[in-house]
């Protein structure tokens, strides 16, 4: 009986291996998982350095007038709390511009009421939905600020977030600044709790690390700021989805820097149900793929006129640590199960335990570095985090990549109206 127990068999296999054999056996983990941690630790240091390097929020007069653009479609449930959160900022005198993008609920009515109350400076309504990118462009056109802050309607903010967000603009080379997004509803479900860990560790640390190397290429639509002159230079956002990422790539192409402001925190509600999470990630992964390698094709081809050496690093990072693991993981699992049968389950469990220890360390470092002590409660779901990231999301990612590469499923995305999508033939 004991001879057939997968765990015992796995333990016996592991104990019988020397270091070389272990490395050969755990090639997938060593190649694709460990770097996540090995790079994670410097990332924490990087974050600390970024935070230390970041100057205190300069007076508005130093960076110019600030306009906040809030564009939304059917956001009646959350628009008011978002606006009130913006008005509670330490950054005073910021102009708030709201654009209702074809909303069919009470969004525009609420915006008008807040406008009458003096909480919003300008309100515009598009009666036909044109998609968020177009709404942002309209908001930017109405704005009079030198700095354009773009936020999502379903976010709320720490009182100093926007002041922190504009601080990096004291450097004239900075064209955009990415804020930091944390989860507002970590206790809503197991899925939200796992996402909370991901936002706190993976996303934040990843951005800090990329920012340290000057390779940050994404300003989240949830909280980001742009220099108006840069915005106008590249003509605002293109039709989405993924317009925030696309905007940053276009901006980097003409030589502007993207900075990271880790103390500019926005809280957002993440999908509660697993199916909703999969839908969200499907869009994210798909956008990342087609924007990097279809819209901005030639980014990794040295013979292309679109090739820019400074862009190679973050594209390669995406290929090596996002695309490749998703493609290779099924092969690894096949190899594992064909070689070891059911004992592979035990081996996978052993790998998960090892990664869990590292996860605890990264979470601890992230919390210590940021001071969000309340996030310690996430530790109860941490044992599942490795499997969630390593298997569940990776398999979902693989499916999305295959669908997008073969069938271009992003063409049918509903983020923008069909007649806007119809023009994006290059997709």
């Amino acid at each position: 009986m004991s001879d057939t127990n997968p765990l015992i068999v796995a333990a016996a296999v592991l104990l019988a291996m020397d270091v070389r054999s272990l490395m050969a056996f755990f090639w997938f983990t060593i190649m694709f998982e460990l770097p996540r941690y090995v790079l994670g630790f410097p990332a924490i240091v990087a974050l600390a350095m970024v935070e230390r390097r970041q100057p205190d929020a300069p007076p508005v007069s130093q960076v110019g007038k600030v306009s906040i653009i809030v564009a939304g479609h059917n956001e009646a449930d959350c628009i008011e709390s978002c606006i009130r959160s913006l008005r509670a900022q330490t950054l005073r005198d910021a102009e708030i511009i709201c654009v209702s993008d074809g909303s069919m609920d009470a969004t525009f009515g609420i915006m008008q009421r807040l406008h009458r109350e003096g909480l919003i400076d300008r309100v515009a309504e598009c009666q036909i939905r044109g998609g968020k990118p177009a709404a942002l462009n309209l908001g930017a056109r109405l704005a009079s600020g030198d700095i354009l802050i773009v936020v999502d309607c379903d976010c709320s903010f720490q009182p100093t977030s926007l002041a922190e967000l504009i601080a990096p603009f004291a450097d004239p080379h900075v064209g955009a600044v990415a804020g930091r997004v944390l989860v507002r509803n970590p206790d809503a479900s197991l899925v939200t709790s796992l996402q909370a860990i991901e936002y706190l560790t993976g996303m934040t640390l990843g951005r800090a690390q990329m920012a340290m190397f000057g390779q940050l290429s994404l300003v989240s639509g949830a909280i980001g700021a742009f220099r108006r002159s840069v915005w106008e230079q590249i003509g605002g956002t293109d039709p989405g989805p993924g317009e925030d990422f696309d905007f940053c790539l276009r901006m980097r192409k003409i030589g502007h820097e993207v900075a990271f402001a880790p103390r500019a925190v926005a809280f957002t509600d993440v999908p509660v149900a697993f199916t909703a999470l999969l839908r969200q990630r499907k869009r994210w992964e798909r956008d990342a793929l087609w924007i990097r390698f279809r819209k901005h094709k030639g980014a990794l081809n040295p013979f292309s006129r679109h090739f820019l050496p400074r862009e190679v690093f973050h594209h390669a990072d995406f290929l090596v640590f996002t695309v490749l693991p998703a493609l290779v993981m099924p092969l690894f699992l096949v190899y594992l199960f064909t070689s070891y049968g059911l004992a592979a389950l035990g081996l996978l469990l052993a790998m998960s335990i090892g990664l869990f220890v590292l996860d605890v360390f990264v979470l601890a470092c992230a919390i210590l570095a940021h001071g969000h002590w309340g996030q310690w409660r996430l530790i109860w779901t941490l044992p599942l985090y490795g499997a969630f990231q390593g298997y569940v999301l990776r398999i979902a990612r693989l499916k999305v990549f295959v669908e997008e590469w073969i069938w271009s499923t992003s063409r049918t995305d509903t983020y923008c109206p069909p007649k806007v999508n119809a023009w994006n033939a290059w997709r």
């Binding site: 300008r122 309504e125 036909i128 044109g130 177009a134 605002g236 039709p239 119809a422 023009w423």
Partner: protein
């Protein structure tokens, strides 16, 4: 008949305010008096021209004797309305700063306040005519309401369509696309836009200011005073409602009785009082409510005389309002001579007696008349004998 512009002052001096206010007036001065019941026109047949005055003269003759000695503006106004058989109507005057005025204000300078007081007592009833805005700087109602730029307050604004270039996602006022030629051209990608709904959409409108160039989602409403030139936004402007005042039966009765302090309600004769008391007792019995009759007689204070008829009418009406306010809902108040008969259901004797000092105190505090009130409370068993 007033024959010259100065005639009014002379007439007021010789005839007194009541006659001037109530008697039919013919204007032969050439149209100086807007309050006149008749103005000399093109017709040379005076008897024919004065014919419309006939009914007014007839009603004037029916007014009680001594009316010409009235001093109370409210009673004069009531009598005037009864003799004209019409409502007190405001007149729109564009050359008047307050925009609405009363024809009668030359005759009765405090006509507005008097009408409001009579409306409070129930002799007149207000009817909405118009709402005007008043300038907070100079109180003028001659205000231009207009759409303005939210930035510079200029009225030089125009609506422009929002244009959305579907291909590149650029969305801005249409004027941005029209700056280079006849056909719209996208300022972002330089493409010419030809087909509506294929190349581009127009999903809404914006307001563009011709003075400062500000583009906004909508204009704001601004108020510009024609008299002092001040600009105000909606939050500073006050509104004022203009009302006409129509006679009620009570008002008509008070005028016809000459404000002698007698009945101010048409149903206060003895027979109807008796009927009312009997009906009230029956209803209280059916509902098992305690019923009381509070008799309140108003007399002058020792050493004082009864106030003038006008003051007496308004004081009794005021007291009527006080009683309704202090006593409970289920009360019926009637006035006979200077005695209020108040039928109260649903309250015990103690509660009613506890309210009496409040009535006395409030009346003394809110009226100029020196009056003494005498209360007599009759409980249910004795009520039938009172009714009988």
């Amino acid at each position: 008949m007033l024959t010259s512009a100065e005639g009014l002052d002379a007439a007021r001096e010789h005839l007194g305010p009541a006659v001037i206010g109530i008697a039919p007036i013919a204007d032969a001065s050439g149209g100086h008096f807007s309050f006149a019941d008749w103005s000399a026109g093109a017709s040379h047949d005076l008897s024919l021209s004065l014919a419309p005055l006939g009914p007014t003269i007839a009603r004037w003759r029916k007014m009680p004797k001594g009316i010409e000695r009235l001093r109370e503006v409210g009673l004069i106004l009531l009598s005037r309305l009864v003799t004209r058989d019409c409502a007190l109507m405001p007149v729109r005057k564009v050359n008047h700063k307050r925009l609405w005025s009363w024809s009668e204000s030359d005759l009765l300078p405090t006509v507005s306040a008097a009408a409001l007081a009579l409306a409070r007592t129930g002799y007149l009833v207000k009817r909405f005519v118009d709402r005007v805005h008043d300038c907070p700087s100079c109180a003028s109602s001659r205000i231009v309401v207009r759409e303005e730029c939210k930035g510079c307050r200029s009225a030089n604004i125009k609506d422009v369509a929002i244009l959305h270039h579907l291909r590149c996602g650029y969305q801005a006022p249409e004027t941005d696309f029209l700056s280079t030629g006849e056909l719209p051209r996208c300022p972002k990608c330089r493409m010419q836009l030809e087909h509506f709904s294929v190349d581009y959409d127009k999903p809404g409108h914006l307001t563009v200011c011709g003075a400062c160039g500000r583009t906004d989602g909508s204009a704001t409403i601004g108020f510009s005073c024609l008299d002092c030139g001040a600009h105000h936004d909606a939050s500073r402007i006050t509104t004022r409602d203009i009302h006409a005042f129509e006679l009620t039966d009570e008002g008509r009765m008070a005028a016809l009785k000459g404000g002698s302090g007698a009945n101010c309600r048409p149903d206060a004769d003895e027979a109807s009082l008796r009927d009312k008391i009997t009906r009230f007792i029956r209803e209280a019995e059916i509902r098992h409510h305690p019923a009381h009759l509070l008799m309140l007689r108003v007399d002058p204070m020792p050493g004082h005389e009864l106030p003038g008829p006008g003051l007496m009418v308004s004081t009794l009406a005021h007291l009527n309002g006080l009683l309704r306010e202090i006593l409970a809902d289920r009360t019926e108040i009637m006035l006979h001579e200077r005695t209020f008969l108040i039928l109260i259901a649903g309250h015990g004797e103690d509660a009613i007696r506890a309210a009496l000092p409040t009535i006395t105190e409030k009346l003394a505090r809110t009226t100029a008349a020196r009056l003494h009130m005498q209360f007599d409370l009759i409980a249910q068993p004795d009520l039938l004998s009172v009714a009988a």
